[in-house]
């Protein structure tokens, strides 16, 4: 979730300590968000300017809460856009180089997330500001600015240049020496070089199947290939190309004693047994790492789109050895990059510390501990449920309701525990606010209405989810449920359909979401498959889309099932999808469920981030409804 790095990624960490006294930027671990911004109504622009400027001054490190707070304020005060833009420009020009990047992240966040009117207000100043800043900052900050610049290419809600083509080209030409005017590197060119290197590596591997380094290279190259096929930006293509060329002449790895156990993660072993140093990579322009991850749950963010494969998939013959566990979950460039580094394809010296790499997996254990602590504490208070105890005792209620929950949302007052887990929850919670604000601004003109209440089946089994597709708004789904949903989702994504021979290169799109199904090679079965796919009635659907469609009208589905159960078996009966009149004939039931599930004008359906939530919801509901026939949604799209 965290786009803006909170700890490792501070651009100034490489600065000599004596130059910047430590007290000016406290160690990340102890960094606390500043006191709440005073949310007052600014009738006076000057007052607003003063206050916004003062709050900007707090943006000394790359702090997500501050950036979010400032961009929320910017959103709320869109009519003062000129003031906000002016403040940010002044701020960036005024502060020392190590403080400039966070402010640029703010500029970036506001332009992308609020877009109108901010993007056009930034246009007149952004080129000069970017280039002036670029000159002043150090190499690692520059690479981060370059990453950001890349995301601007498609940063506008329309998928176009965030600040328009002219500023974009102007900046790129300056910093990359007119690269963008050169003939573009074609995806095909990179792919062909990739294939070449891959072929070489595979031959090495064939002669020496225990060569772990080469095996790693092959795995990474496979991922890289998929990534390129999925479509990456020009700069990324050129980066990949550069790296490929350094890799190509790499000497074959020496034979490794055959006793090496086949174990993928034996890094120490691998390092000690390989005598050839990994090929080094020239310190060229930085590799675009993870910056373009979805942030703030904003769907318009240019996440790496793995679904859209512009290139036909290569024939199976070229991929005799595939990664043993092809990741079904989208690979982002940063994870690929880190695996490139790990496997020695890249040297880590040129690594830009990617944003958003701070996810820790150790969360569940402390969470359990925390709830155990809470349990013991509550029980130790020993307040009995009697009329006397209730009145006589004095309890440490403030500790429970306030002091132990020090991470407070400044928007609505909800508190989270003071530890890292609480902080993380708060971040998710802030994302929710941001999304709701954005929805409110987008949908304001459409008018709202009261929802119909949900049907009994939905209430009984799905009561935690709002009738218009809202999840629990604070995202605090019960853990068990979330795990179940995640598992279900993973199962769905793991389902696959074998590609019929000869159809490997055929582009197939899911009839529901209209996105292309990605084929990949399954090593175990030595077959090409479509992942996350199900075949129903001779059509291939995304398994997740299909499950969603199946359950989105669970009432209808249940009813359909009970209607047809008399005449037909309860098997997965695709015939139903060919008989829309039957579905339509269900008088108002459909209208009702449609209303209760997605009221007219509901913004939920139009926002991409909701998709995932609905997926979860859908998968959760599809539990135990295996036999439900495809519903009208499917039927209509046939």
């Amino acid at each position: 979730m965290a786009t803006y790095p909170q700890s490792q990624a501070y651009g100034h960490m490489s600065y000599p300590a004596q130059a910047y006294p430590p007290q000016s930027y406290p160690p990340p671990n102890y960094y606390q968000p500043p006191p709440p911004p005073q949310h007052v109504y600014y009738a006076d622009p000057n007052h607003f300017r003063r206050d916004y400027f003062a709050r900007l001054a707090e943006l000394t490190v790359n702090s997500r809460p501050i950036i979010q707070g400032l961009s929320m304020t910017a959103q709320e005060y869109a009519r003062y856009a000129d003031i906000v833009v002016n403040c940010i420009e002044q701020h960036i020009r005024r502060v020392p180089p190590w403080m400039k990047l966070p402010a640029f992240y703010l500029l970036d966040a506001i332009s992308k997330n609020v877009f109108d009117p901010y993007a056009r207000h930034f246009i007149p100043i952004v080129v000069r500001l970017f280039l002036d800043t670029y000159e002043q900052v150090d190499q690692s900050t520059r690479s981060k600015m370059e990453e950001m610049l890349l995301t601007w290419r498609t940063g506008a809600p329309t998928g176009r240049e965030l600040f328009g083509p002219i500023p974009q080209v102007a900046i790129e030409r300056q910093i990359w020496g007119g690269e963008s005017t050169q003939p573009a590197i074609s995806t095909a060119q990179v792919l062909s070089e990739l294939e070449f290197v891959l072929g070489t590596k595979q031959r090495i591997l064939q002669t020496n199947p225990y060569d772990k380094q080469t095996q790693n290279h092959v795995n990474v190259l496979f991922q890289l290939k998929k990534l390129v096929q999925a479509g990456v930006s020009q700069a990324e293509l050129s980066q990949i190309l550069t790296q490929l060329r350094t890799l190509a002449p790499a000497p074959a790895a020496p034979p490794v004693p055959p006793v090496v156990p086949v174990h993928h993660d034996s890094q120490a072993l691998y390092q000690s047994s390989v005598s050839v140093p990994p090929p080094s990579v020239p310190q060229s322009a930085a590799y675009p790492s993870s910056y373009p991850q979805p942030s703030y749950g904003n769907p318009s963010y240019p996440a790496v789109k793995l679904e859209a494969a512009p290139q036909p998939v290569l024939p199976a013959s070229s991929a005799a050895v595939g990664p043993s566990s092809a990741p079904a979950i989208p690979v982002n460039i940063s994870s690929l990059f880190s695996s490139l580094v790990k496997s020695g394809v890249l040297s880590s010296s040129s690594t830009p510390q990617g944003a958003g790499n701070i996810t820790d997996n150790k969360e569940s254990a402390p969470a359990v501990d925390a709830s155990q602590d809470y349990r013991s504490y509550i029980l130790s208070l020993g307040i009995r449920l009697t009329s006397v105890d209730i009145v006589k005792q004095r309890s440490p209620i403030t500790k429970l309701l306030y002091d132990n929950l020090s991470n407070q949302c400044k928007q609505c007052g909800i508190r989270f525990s003071g530890d890292a887990a609480g902080k993380k929850k708060l971040e998710g919670h802030l994302d929710m606010h941001f999304n709701q604000n954005r929805k409110a601004s987008q949908a304001a003109a459409r008018g709202y209405s009261r929802n119909w209440l949900v049907g009994i089946e939905d209430w009984l089994h799905d009561g935690a989810v709002g009738s218009n597709g809202k999840g629990r708004i604070d995202g605090s789904r019960p853990k068990a449920l979330a795990a179940e949903v995640a598992q279900r989702d993973a199962e769905l994504r793991a389902t696959f359909v074998v590609v019929p021979p000869g159809d490997e290169a055929k582009l197939i799109s899911c009839p529901i979401c209209k996105e292309t199904l990605k084929s990949e090679f399954m090593e175990d079965d030595e077959e090409w498959v479509w992942r996350n796919a199900v075949k129903r009635d001779d059509r291939i659907y995304h398994a997740t889309c299909h499950a969603e469609a199946m359950s989105s009208k669970s009432n209808l589905a249940v009813r359909l099932r009970s209607e047809i159960s008399g005449s037909r078996s309860r098997s997965r009966t695709p015939e139903v999808s060919r008989t829309p009149p039957r579905a339509l004939g269900l008088h108002h039931e459909d209208a009702k469920t449609r209303l209760s599930r997605s009221p007219p004008g509901s913004p939920a359906k139009t926002v991409g981030t909701k998709r995932k939530a609905e997926d979860d919801e859908a998968t959760q509901k599809s539990e135990g409804r295996e036999a439900t026939p495809p519903t009208k949604k499917v039927a209509l799209s046939s």
Partner: protein, 493 residues
Amino acid sequence: MSSEAIATSRDWVLGAECEYRFELDQGTSLAIKLTQGQAEIFGAELVEGKTYIFYEECKAAVYTWQGCTIQIRQPSTEYVSEETPMTAYANLHIAFEAMRVRALDRANGNMHASDTEDTEPPRVLILGPENSGKTSIAKILVNYATRAGQNWSPTLINVNPGEGGCILPGTISAASVTTPLQTSTPAHTLGSSATSAPAHMSSNALVPLAYWYGHADTKRNPLLLDRLIRNLGENVWEKLADDTQGRVSGCIIDTPSSFAAGSGNSEQHRQSLIKACVDAFRINVILVVGHEKLNVEMQRTYGTRMAVVKIPKSGGVVELDGPYRARVRRRQMQAYFYGERFAPPPGMPALASALAAAGYLIGGEPPADFTLAPASSVIGFGDLAIWRIGEETMAPVSALPIGATRVVSEMQPLAVDPGAPSAGMHGAVLALLADPHPDETERYDEEVLDLHVVGFVVITAVDVPNRRMTVLAPGQGSLTGRTAVVGSFEWQE
């Protein structure tokens, strides 16, 4: 801020465990800003620096555990009290938390050898006479549970048809609550049901299960209420069976004051309704608010099976009269269809021009468009099946001549012809029900009694010659073929 605005505002410094109470007259509104310290309204915390707006005769209190300063603009009545029962309510909360963590332990299979205690989560019935603050206590207890940081999602159940809970009066309902219930208007004392507008607090977008009783007074048809309570209870249980976190979070049940005192015939109904609640929701804690006699009675009846706890009544409870309650009901119905209409106190920027302002919060939501757009449509009499439960005016059985029995039972659904001279459908509030069982053979005469509510409509015009009527519905959508039940509520523009 302009100097004019400052002139009309006033700062109050509250000591620890003090309460600032305010009451609004009709047509006024109030703004409260917490400028320092920590404060809460019925257990929902206020955010420092935000301006909270209250309107429509709202009567509430800002309580602080540790002291605070608040800035107030123009209340009708205000005072500060140092005596509150909040300590007792906090102790109740902690006692319930102990029950919840034990229940969660058991649900997770971690039985502790030392635990010989009960491992049932708290399922709390709150009883008390009129104006004893039952609803406020329910709200505080639910809010504290949602604020515990343990992901509790307590089920708030309203069995008082005189108050609408999170939807309309005339219903009884249950909803799972995950964020604190906000206070801004008496039209939404226990949260608000979902609209298509984006909500920041899930308590403003609740998804309740509701049954339609149709009247404000529980004495009007106690048998029907009894049956609806049991229906609601069954479904609540079925839901919680699947939802561990919800189950261990427990239930809080708000009741009408008629459960607390009765005489003659209604005494018997009162006791049977309490019993219906105890059975339906498997109550294991009864709270009696400031009523000695009732406490003794409950101790005697249920004391051996569960905890019966007498709790103090707040001195801040406002005596609400009948006309006030009627006005609140009218506003609840209007708010259901049209959303909220209010203006900030004079001297503050108008809401329309301040839509982008950061400062305002209304019921926890930043200012946005709170108005809703209902849909009005003309349908034929035959398009909507309208029922009435029992006779419109029904004398109690005891009032009938000796030996006489009722021709129409209290529980019998009667089809209503809107065109009939005595139907009185003009201005009637109808509950739209879920569809009857799809399988004809599974249907039964009294099925209408067991169908839950999906929404409400109002008949705003009846055209008898053409057998058509104009129906106001919350949103678009066909009403043809639906089932609706009329009660005794009337729509007033």
